[in-house]
Symmetry: C2
Subunit: 245 residues, 2 copies
């Protein structure tokens, strides 16, 4: 688990470019995903440049990269804004993620080794424990690792890149803590189904179980979201546009 967090945060993005714009980009990305730059808020080039002690050039380059990645919106002559996701956006991300997850599962059936299967089994077993205890904090990182392992086993760098970009975009929509009581158990039951499909090297079943797993995740998320917005329906009119804190 420390592996997982240590892998996602530091090296890859910075090693990618020793150049300033690469560092700046990673910095801005952190500011966005941490929520320090609020959704819909403007990203002031001067302010960022001043804060990071560099010129505006690298900041501009970094912003353009993040626009391309979907984390920022660019309005000419007005600046770049932290992207705000509405419900339709989230559905799009889920649907695409479901497709990519399914594709990853089906591709992996042809290449997975028994050692790699063992690793996946270990992760699912760990999630069984977390789910039984209702411990989301220990469940979540293992869940990420489970899907990341399958993704990497495809050996398809473009698939990996697309999927990870999607995950980052999804983080714009803050849904941590949006877990219903049975969500963990249901989710891991689906993991077991995926595991079975991989075990039998059944690419069709691997696609189906993986695809449905994400689609069920979408349903679980929206169910919890709707329950929350109905409960605190004070600001009901903009509820579908609001990000959750």
């Amino acid at each position: 688990m420390t592996d997982a967090t240590a892998r996602t945060i530091p090296t890859v993005a910075q090693m990618r470019e020793n150049s300033l714009s690469g560092v700046v980009r990673h910095e801005i990305e952190t500011l966005i995903l941490s929520g320090e730059l609020p959704a819909g808020g403007r990203v002031n080039e001067n302010a960022i440049a001043l804060r990071l002690g560099v010129s505006r050039g690298p900041v501009r380059e970094a912003c353009r990269g993040l626009v391309e990645q979907g984390l920022l919106d660019l309005i000419p002559n007005r600046g770049v804004f932290v992207r705000r996701l509405d419900r339709h956006d989230v559905e799009e991300v889920y649907d695409l993620r479901a497709g990519l997850t399914g594709l990853a599962g089906s591709l992996v059936t042809a290449r997975i080794t028994s050692a790699e299967m063992d690793r996946l089994r270990t992760l699912v077993a760990a999630m069984d424990v977390s789910a039984a205890a209702g411990d989301f904090r220990s469940f979540y990182p293992v869940n990420l690792e489970f899907h990341d392992v399958i993704l990497q086993l495809t050996g398809n760098s473009r698939l990996i890149k697309s999927y990870r970009a999607l995950i980052k975009e999804f983080q714009l929509f803050r849904t941590h803590g949006l877990v219903q009581p049975n969500a963990l158990r249901e989710s891991n039951e689906e993991h077991h189904a995926i595991l079975d499909a991989l075990e039998h090297r059944d690419s069709v079943a691997a696609y189906d179980t993986s695809y449905r797993h994400v689609q069920h995740g979408k349903q679980r998320m929206f169910a919890a979201f709707d329950k929350l917005t109905q409960a605190g329906a004070a600001s009901a009119d903009g509820a579908h546009n609001r990000t959750i804190e």
Copy 2:
């Protein structure tokens, strides 16, 4: 007056293109896809800037965007190079494209109208004619339109964007003219199968037929490619890295 405003304020998308770096980017993209900038060749910022009559700033921005999109490779302190696809890259693109195409097909089953079905039928019928005549030049654009219609019917902007980026990347690998005698007929038979699946609103069949269509396309392409490289095996050592003219 109304004429002027109507002409000068068209759409958001065009405003973005009006930005100098946007124009430059489109220009470089054309140079790459037309082959004027050869695969593996270096893109000289100064030369491009001079040629287009702008400063290096917009050229840099455009290049970074194209790097993000996958059309250029960036090597720090050395410059950007037109991406060269090897066989593994092409397989990756095909696999991912197959998955996205399948996803598009399965998503569309739930929303397609009879009028839209009619349009697809018309396109497939046109391809039947082209295939019978062995006319690739008339077959190709209709084929593109057929898949693009399905893609747009999904209403998933992220799926559309990912797919189109993949298509552009694929064009780096020049395979026009790489068509075997039966390719058109086989391809359109698969189109018919996709049509049937959509007709029955069978999302599983829509995924399968669409996915396999692209995978068969991959096999057809590699078969033709291998035949070509074996025939003219003069420069055999770099054959798997060479682009086809």
